[in-house]
Each structure stands twice: as structure tokens, then as C-alpha cells.
């Protein structure tokens, strides 16, 4: 399976297929917001006005991806979102509570359903094909990707548009902050991994991929394997899952040039990564990405984009402020979320 094209809106300058910025966008504070493009190129201005921010971001990232893939009508569309359309949900919920269930209008409710982005893409493309929406926390993206992989394997589709979208809005940020998830005060995203304190930084993003059964000669990368595991009993169980995954795909850690990890700056969350560095990942170069996009349940899609981008050139973009010890031919993306949701993707250069 091949990643033919991508479209990525994130807190970094990742949208558009020009060269990536040399330095990451620096943020002070515990919340990273997406840098939004000029949507007019991708969406009818009449439609833009009616769409909430997450829908615009999702649709634009999807359109950019299809344009790069030169696919007019995908055989299937699968999306993942953990939180769904928070802005519309909050709007409808807030008004309903405030006005005691009176004086409500349907627009926000209509756009609050979790399949809205996939549906809007289908609608814009007039695409009657398979369309599914996964909403399982930090497995949402991986489940959408697994669906796409199965559709290609089943020969039900030759190409699938897969994406993950999550937004952060004020009320949700306030609530999540009350759970103590984020670092207090003026945190620098560029110093995220140095603090060794509790909490991470909030993020968001819209990342889409065109996954195809056949190579095009100009693909980003090949997807060799995908696996999720839920609530492993401890580090030994995690190591067993990772080794088992590699074994099933007949590769060893020596075959992997780069591990992209889901470290998020929270001391307790990142501890297993330090332990894995003592064992499995000891001899392999590692790279983190959540200082660029922040932490959110579908952040692994940003990591997936990064892996694909690196494999296309074989080099680590300057944005990451790291250089590859050797040409990068194979990447293992290992993400974990709240210690309970773990995912592994194995990608290789074409």
C-alpha cells in the first residue's frame, strides 16, 4: 500500500506542498492552534461561510490531498475524530442550556455529528462511494487507516482518502485543563521535552492521505504495517507488542532507520519512552513531533504525515532541527496516548 499524497493543516506551516519552513513556529502557552490557509482556493466561498472551522480545515486538507494525488473521485473516504465537531456541539449545547431548550436553530446541530467532515467531502465531490467515520479516542485515525487498508486488500477500492481531524475550542480546553492535562503557565513548545514536569500542551490538526493499492512512481512512502494495542499491562507488555509487530512484518530494529515517537512532554507519559530507549530503541535514532502539533487524540496522524514526508526525501526536514545519521529508508511511528492507547505504523521508502 502506498501513500500517494498528503494534505496537512497544523500549528506549523505544513499546508501546501512548498518546502517546509526551516524553523518550527514557536508558541508560548499551553495551546497550539492551526495555521489556517486561504480557503478560497479549495472551497466555494458561499460554503466556507456556513462551515465551522474544523469542517473548513478538514475539507481543505482533503482537497489539497486529492489534488496532489490527482484523484477526482476516491473509491472510499474514511475519517477519524475523537472529539468531533466541538465548536458546533458547544454552540448548540450552550444555547440549549442557556435558553432552556427554546429558540434553537438547527445549523449547529446538523454540523455537530461526527461524520460531518467525511460527509461534506463526499457532498462536495458528489461521491456516492463508501464513507465511514471512526470516533474511538486515540485510535480514531488508526481505525480509519485500518479500514482503508482492508478496503484495498479486499479490492473494494483502488484508492482511499483517509484523514484525521480534531479541533480544540475554548470550553473544551477549559474542561480538559481542569483535568490537569496541560502544563500551567508560559510553556515554550520548543522546550517541551526539557521541563520534565507534569502535563503537556494542547494541539489540533487536520491530516489527510491518499492511500493506494498500486504504486504511482511518485509516492511518499509505502505502508508496511499498522497495529494498535489497548491498555498494555506494563512496559514488558508494550515491548512484547512492539517486538511482535516487527516480527510479523519480518523486520528487526536494525532495519529501522528512525523511530518517530509520541512523547508529549508530560514526565509520566514520556517515562516508557525513556525505558524503551534503554531496550528496544537503544540503537536507533529517535525523533519527537508533538512540540510541533501539540497533544490531541489524533496527533498520530501528524506523526504519520511526518514519517511520509521524511521518507519521500530520505532526509529529516530542518524544521525538526535534527539530521539523519544515515539516509532514512524505513520509519517506525510509535504513538501512545494517556498510557492506554498505543499505535505502531511501519513505513518504508518507495
Amino acid at each position: 500500500m502506498y501513500i500517494r499524497a498528503t494534505g496537512n493543516i497544523s500549528p506549523q506551516k505544513t499546508f501546501g506542498h512548498s518546502a517546509l519552513a526551516e524553523a518550527p513556529v514557536a508558541y508560548t502557552g499551553n495551546r497550539l492552534a492551526c495555521i489556517e490557509p486561504d480557503y478560497k482556493e479549495f472551497i466555494d466561498p458561499k460554503l466556507i461561510r456556513r462551515m465551522s472551522r474544523i469542517i473548513r480545515m478538514g475539507v481543505a486538507a482533503a482537497m489539497e490531498c486529492l489534488k496532489e494525488a490527482d484523484i477526482k473521485m476516491p473509491d472510499a473516504i474514511t475519517t477519524g475524530t475523537a472529539y468531533g465537531c466541538l465548536e458546533d456541539t458547544n454552540l448548540f449545547l450552550g444555547r440549549m442550556v442557556e435558553f432552556n431548550e427554546e429558540l434553537l436553530t438547527p445549523t449547529a446541530f446538523i454540523q455537530s455529528t461526527h461524520n460531518t467532515i467525511g460527509a461534506q467531502i463526499g457532498l462536495m465531490l458528489q461521491c456516492n462511494n463508501y464513507n465511514n467515520a471512526y470516533v474511538h479516542r486515540a485510535f480514531s485515525f488508526e481505525n480509519a487507516l485500518l479500514d482503508a487498508v482492508m478496503l484495498l486488500r479486499e479490492k473494494e477500492a483502488a484508492h482511499v482518502l483517509v484523514g484525521a481531524i480534531d479541533e480544540i475550542v475554548n470550553p473544551s480546553f477549559t474542561i480538559l485543563n481542569r483535568f490537569g492535562i496541560y502544563k500551567p503557565g508560559d510553556v515554550s513548545n520548543l522546550e517541551l521535552y526539557k521541563a520534565n514536569t507534569k502535563g503537556t500542551i494542547a494541539g489540533e490538526g487536520a491530516s489527510f492521505f491518499a492511500l493506494t493499492a498500486e504504486p504511482s512512481g511518485n509516492d511518499y512512502a509505502k505502508l508496511e504495517g499498522l497495529h494498535t494495542f489497548y491498555k498494555p499491562a506494563g512496559l514488558a507488555a508494550t515491548e512484547k507488542q512492539i517486538s511482535g509487530f516487527l516480527q510479523r512484518h519480518a523486520v528487526s530494529m536494525q532495519d529501522i532507520d528512525l523511530v518517530i515517537t509520541g512523547r508529549n512532554g508530560d514526565a509520566a507519559h514520556d517515562e516508557p519512552y525513556a525505558q524503551l530507549t534503554q531496550s528496544l530503541f537503544g540503537q536507533t535514532q529517535q525523533l519527537n513531533f508533538k512540540h510541533l502539533c501539540g497533544e490531541y487524540p489524533t496527533a498520530s496522524a501528524f506523526g504519520f504525515w511526518l514519517a511520509a514526508r521524511i521518507l519521500k526525501t530520505g532526509n529529516i526536514p530542518e524544521l525538526l532541527q535534527a539530521s539523519a545519521a544515515k539516509p532514512v529508508k524505513r520509519v517506525l511511528l510509535y504513538n501512545s496516548y494517556k498510557g492506554s492507547h498505543h499505535s505502531l505504523s511501519l513505513l518504508a521508502a518507495c
Binding site: F92, L93, P106, I110, Y130, Y134, V135, F139
Partner: protein
């Protein structure tokens, strides 16, 4: 990739019963579960009838073992999933690669909307335990954890077609040799959020709904959960009573017409039904009964009916909407109606479409209005269509 996927067990809870036996009894005796709102605390209480599950959260908690403070969506889900597993007779789930795939439309919204009452007034107020399971996936995990399933846990949310998609995904995970056993279906509890949402769309019936009636006025919302236990041929071979029903066809298509309305010719519905037939290798004339999506809205019933006309004309199978009993249970409806479709095959019954007075003038066929027993059924089609143009059809077959 085309090995049979068996239905080894079913579990259901809805306004017409707390388990399969009670629901079947109500379906056979024409007892609808729709009535005045008693549990949901809404200003529309005296105007809008709903189809509530008769058990309180405390009663559901004591039956399932989940704390009563958890979302009703999770409590309903666990009750039905536990029944499905018990009914399957699989003694040791842990012996197999087992997955739990659930669907819901608004996760733990029943708790979140209470939290918001205090939170809106003061952002430091509101009990956090009321929002901790807000995410759709969190509701699924509460149930998966209680069932001890961790190999594969997933949640789908495609509005009213959600749980048809989860059953369909379960079958594909088995056919792709990723899992051996999947408990698949969906759940939704009544919430003010959803009730008010549908109310603003002006598609709620202030009387009991009348799907496929010329003078239909809209739908009644309901709540519940329904799951099937899907097993591979390898698992089925080890069972004392080999399952006799398979999921033979499925298809997911998109109407691509409007965010909430169906196209007048029911393009998405037609593609879903014809795609499911193609997948199963069956002809339209092989279908004995259609469990209709049949919500009772002007728009759905004419779109669905037009698509049925296009696909089945001139010979129509028996048809009925069991939403006349359970109301529209949204993310649970595909799961609940999958269980009812399996029951129809197992017991040779066609459930009635209640309260039909005037058949729709623009459709050449009639839905079944009286219970039919002793019918030889081989193939049943179940339709689930939703917002966002999501249309899914499943075919259950007796082998």
C-alpha cells in the same frame, strides 16, 4: 475474503423489552414502547412522545455491574452486549482474538448536558466525572473494559447508520483474519441535545409515528442498544449449536445530496441495497423481508420507498419498520434492527408496521401491517440511513 461470518448470539434492550425474549414478545403482540417522556428531563416533556427503556440507571447498574453514575449510553450498551455474549454460548472469549465494535451518536452527552448547566454559569463548576466519558469512544471503552475485551476496540459514528457500519466492519475484520469473534452493534440513550436537535429540524411527531403512511408527520426518538456476536467459521465449528445465520451481504454508500436530507430518488439507499445484494451474490427476488429504515419522516420514507421500487419492481418482498415499536434509536438502530432481522429469520415471522392507515400514494407496494407467522424466510435485508448521506444495508441469511 469471502468466508462465511456467522451470527452466534444476539442481545438487545429497547423500549419494548430489556432482552431478546421480551422484545420478541412485544413484536409478536404488537406492543409499541412509545409513550410520554418519564425519564428525560426536558421542557418538551408533555408534547413529544419518546420510546424510553423502562429501566432506571440504578436498575441497569445493578443488572450490569457498572456504576449508576456512568452514562446511560454505556449502561444500555453493556446490558445488551452481556446478553449477546451469554446467548452466544462462547465459554471462553479469551481463547479467541476478540473485538468489541460499538457505535453511538453523542457518547456521554446525557451526562455532559447536565454538567453544562453549572459550567455555563461558572467555568470552574460542574462535576468532572460528568464529562470524563463524553467522547463516543469512552462509552465503548467502559463496556469493553467491563467485558474484558482488549484485542480490538473501536467506535463508529455515522449518525443513524452507525451500528449497521459497526456490524459490517466486524464481519470484515473476521474475513481479513484480524479477529475471530466480534461483538458488534451500537447504543444510544435519549438526550436533550438530540431531542432538541431533531426538534429544530421539525421532524419529530407529536403523535405516535406512522412510517410509510401517506399522512406521516415525523419520527419518535427512542433509546436502546443492540449487538450481535459475529464468529468465523473456525469458531463456529467449535460450538455445540452451530449457528445457522450468516451476515451474507453488506454495503455502505453515500447519498452525497444534503447534510441531513435524502435525495428524492433515494440514490444512497439504492446503492446501499444493491451493493449488499451484489456482495451476497443474491438477486432482489431472493429477499424475503426488508426491515425498513422507515423513520416516519416525509423525506426518508419517500426516498427509501423510491429506491425500493427501483430495485425490486415488480415483485416486492414483505416490509415493515420496527421503529413503529422502538422509535428511532439513532446510533443503536442498526444494531437493534439487526437483532430483529435475525429473530425474523429464526422464528419465521414478519413483524407488523404498526398504525398504518393510508398507504403512501406514490409507492406501488404495501408494508405488512399484521404479524405473519410460520413464514419461510431465507434472506432478510436491513436498512440504516443517516445524516451526512450515510446509507448502509445488511443482509442476513439462513443457511
Amino acid at each position: 475474503m469471502n468466508e462465511p461470518v456467522f451470527i452466534a448470539g444476539t442481545g438487545v434492550i429497547s423500549a419494548i423489552g430489556n432482552n431478546v425474549t421480551e422484545c420478541l414478545d412485544a413484536l409478536e403482540n404488537g406492543r409499541a414502547g412509545i409513550g410520554p417522556m418519564t425519564r428525560l428531563d426536558s421542557v418538551h416533556k408533555n408534547r413529544l412522545p419518546v420510546a424510553e427503556v423502562k429501566l432506571s440507571n440504578e436498575e441497569l447498574a445493578s443488572r450490569t455491574g457498572l456504576p449508576a453514575i456512568k452514562s446511560r449510553t454505556a449502561l444500555l450498551s453493556l446490558a445488551a452486549a452481556q446478553e449477546a455474549i451469554r446467548h452466544s454460548g462462547i465459554e471462553d472469549l479469551a481463547a479467541w482474538r476478540c473485538g468489541f465494535i460499538s457505535a453511538n451518536s453523542v457518547g456521554g452527552m446525557d451526562k455532559t448536558e447536565n454538567f453544562f448547566r453549572e459550567f455555563i454559569a461558572d467555568n470552574n463548576k460542574g462535576q468532572l466525572h460528568d464529562v470524563v466519558d463524553h467522547e463516543c469512544g469512552s462509552v465503548t471503552e467502559l463496556v469493553a473494559d467491563a467485558l474484558g475485551i482488549n484485542e480490538h476496540v473501536s467506535t463508529i459514528s455515522t449518525a443513524c447508520s452507525s451500528s449497521a457500519n459497526s456490524i459490517f466492519l466486524g464481519a470484515r475484520l473476521i474475513r481479513n483474519n484480524i479477529l475471530d469473534v466480534v461483538i458488534a452493534g451500537g447504543t444510544d440513550s435519549l438526550t436533550r441535545f438530540t431531542l432538541n436537535g431533531f426538534n429544530t429540524l421539525m421532524i419529530l411527531d407529536e403523535q405516535f409515528c406512522q412510517p410509510f403512511d401517506e399522512n406521516r408527520r415525523g419520527l419518535n426518538l427512542g433509546e436502546g442498544a443492540g449487538y450481535v456476536v459475529l464468529v468465523s467459521e473456525k469458531v463456529a465449528a467449535t460450538m455445540k449449536h452451530k449457528p445457522e445465520i450468516v451476515l451474507s451481504g453488506y454495503c455502505n454508500a453515500n447519498d452525497a445530496y444534503h447534510q441531513t436530507a435524502s435525495s428524492p430518488d433515494g440514490t444512497g439507499s439504492y446503492l446501499a441495497m444493491s451493493g449488499a445484494l451484489k456482495k451476497s451474490g443474491l438477486q432482489p427476488s431472493d429477499i424475503d423481508y426488508i426491515n425498513l429504515h422507515g423513520t416516519g419522516t416525509q423525506n426518508n420514507d419517500i426516498a427509501e420507498g423510491t429506491a425500493i421500487k427501483r430495485l425490486f419492481e415488480p415483485t416486492y418482498p414483505k416490509m415493515s419498520s420496527t421503529k413503529t415499536f422502538t422509535g428511532h434509536t439513532l446510533g443503536a438502530s442498526g444494531g437493534i434492527e439487526a437483532v430483529f432481522s435475525v429473530l425474523a429469520l429464526q422464528h419465521g415471522v414478519i413483524f407488523p408496521n404498526l398504525r398504518l392507515q393510508t398507504p403512501m400514494k406514490d409507492l406501488p407496494f404495501r408494508v405488512t401491517t399484521e404479524l405473519e407467522k410460520g413464514v419461510s424466510l431465507k434472506h432478510v435485508l436491513s436498512n440504516s440511513f443517516g445524516f451526512g448521506g450515510n446509507c448502509s444495508s445488511l443482509i442476513f441469511s439462513k443457511i
